[in-house]
Symmetry: C2
Subunit: 354 residues, 2 copies
């Protein structure tokens, strides 16, 4: 891994996780500028937005950074299911003086189906492109490789990792159960073994021939050393960076993360239609045990509408406040300072821990 | 921790997990004899059985070992619920030419309510006593301390860890989501944050003042080094020892563990009434999404009866084959050899992993 990273001028084996809506160009650039690999997430924006975001990041750093795309199966719209879901949510909307939308939209296009996005990535050629929720077709992978992009993809299991290896991806992000945000499972309808970071990282490090980037519950130098001891070549931290001033997190999110709420995260598919880990809040409480959730990302359209309605009257407990299980260990520091501190913690510990 | 262990003559920071039914005196003694801390589990037997098991272990080693007890809330019998549960299981019994039992029994007594067991432990005074599912009253803790026992207790969360610290227990077993067997949650009816080993170990190592023994998904020297890097003082491995010849695992269990089944574990309360992680098998498939399970350990009486019925006609897919998420990484070696190998893996790696 490190030789891959070094080729890109990335000197520390630390990736700042792409977090659509949170990982701004400022955040990514701050991380890349001190030797880590910053990331932006463009899964929730279109090709023009992605180009602007890539250019904004390049305006802030001349170092390598990672651009993350969502490669989910195309959403299956189901008007009846969506109507039932909105009806179930109606009392929440009414409580905040609003009405649910008449219908729900597929608010994001998968990279698997987005030719404009492919053209934009080939044209802008980010140093690193990462895939979440699955893999695009071989032609898209080849096009990005031809453009010179190093490719990463998320696996939550050995079987997903093997698909990633077979597709010729350069390194695997091993996303453990602890991780915040969207779980990268390829098929959300399949059984999920819910492998923790400890088990998953070691399994993938011993059973695949490619470099592993461990993710999930890693918050400090001790966590980084642990992941490296498990055989990971690098680590990816998301929750650790949410409270950085450069992040896009709003005040309500920062307040929640800094308080007792950080101790309770839940994995829910009720927010977006796919399993994702967030701080437990009023919405996840309402959604507990929810069945028959619309497909990803259709459900997310409803949640975003509800959050907007509630926020407009001062209630912030319906936002999607993604966070991993390590949330109580986060620190609120400028990203560059945090990265240097993380590396100092890794290095100072040195030697054997015993 | 290590000074606590060294006081007992335990030279390696490795605990072989107590696994009622699997961790025999032979297994515990083999581990203790080469410098680890072997364990036996007496939660499923009575005081006379426990005395015999402690004596059998002492006949095999003069080193320290750990005796584990279950400290669950007393089972709440509910004849109507139990009858419904048996009725739901009836087709399974019938398939194997049997009938469900007429009623279910509370097959184990909690250490919290078992005066004979307390007297036996005080009298035999094992070097280490560990608590699972909760803590006994202060008088029992004091009696065991007066008898010279070092005390451990399992925590799955920071709030449980704080109760353990407040009770004056010597060290905490931090049991992550990956871990096999019964999850040590104090209150199975309370929400469970399901913290992975990575997140839980680091949280407890930074937020409690007592030594942490990390458990869950640790299978080899790399895993041990990772746990120590997270700030654990020692580790506890269970699944790593199931396939040892000294363990009580039957052939069906060993076959399942050695094959593809090891890749799929599930956390279910359908087997015993409390959440526990085991290899997915025919019973867990049947029980998926089961509601209204009888209380622990009443449900276990039904499962054991079904397993006996199925096994009597050659079907082994209904046994409780406890295993953690690291199961595919287990090795089938004599326990003493495995322990030496684990320590060699920890030591050889040495220095920094980067």
């Amino acid at each position: 891994m490190m030789h891959l990273f070094q080729r890109l001028g990335v000197t520390l084996p630390i990736v700042q996780a792409p977090m659509a809506g949170v990982s701004t160009p400022d955040l990514a650039a701050a991380v890349s500028n001190v030797g880590g690999l910053g990331s932006i997430g463009i899964g929730a924006i279109d090709a023009a937005g992605a180009r602007a975001m890539i250019e904004a990041t390049r305006a802030r750093t001349d170092r390598a950074f990672n651009v993350n795309v969502f490669v989910h199966q195309a959403a299956q719209a189901d008007a009846a299911r969506e109507a039932r879901w909105l009806e179930a949510m109606r009392p929440l909307f009414v409580r905040y003086g609003a009405e649910p939308p008449d219908a729900l939209r597929t608010i994001y296009t998968s990279f698997a189906d987005d030719d404009d996005m492919l053209a934009t990535l080939v044209d802008t050629a980010p140093a690193v492109v990462s895939f979440h929720f699955g893999l695009p077709g071989a032609d898209r992978i080849a096009a990005l490789k031809d453009a010179g992009c190093l490719l990463l993809a998320t696996a939550t299991s050995l079987s997903e990792a093997r698909l990633i290896v077979a597709a010729g991806i350069d390194a695997i992000v091993a996303q453990g159960w602890e991780a915040g945000g969207h779980r990268g499972v390829f098929d959300p309808a399949a059984p999920d073994d819910r492998l923790g970071t400890m088990a998953l990282t070691r399994l993938l490090a011993t059973r695949t021939g490619v470099p592993i980037i461990a993710a999930g519950g890693i918050m400090d130098g001790a966590g980084i050393r642990a992941a490296l001891a498990l055989g990971a070549s690098a680590v990816q931290l998301g929750t650790a960076f949410i409270a950085c001033p450069e992040s896009g997190a709003d005040d309500a999110y920062r307040v929640a993360l800094a308080g007792p709420a950080a101790h309770h995260t839940v994995m829910t598919r009720a927010i977006s239609g796919r399993p994702a880990r967030c701080l437990a809040n009023r919405f996840t409480e309402w959604a507990e045990g929810a069945q028959d959730v619309p497909d990803y990302p259709i459900a997310y359209d409803a949640e975003k509408a509800l959050h907007a309605a509630a926020r407009s009257v001062g209630e912030s407990g319906f936002g999607a406040q993604w966070a991993g299980q390590g949330a109580p260990l986060h620190r609120s520091l400028p990203a560059g300072v945090l990265l240097k501190l993380l590396w100092q913690e890794v290095s100072l510990a040195g030697g054997s821990a015993i």
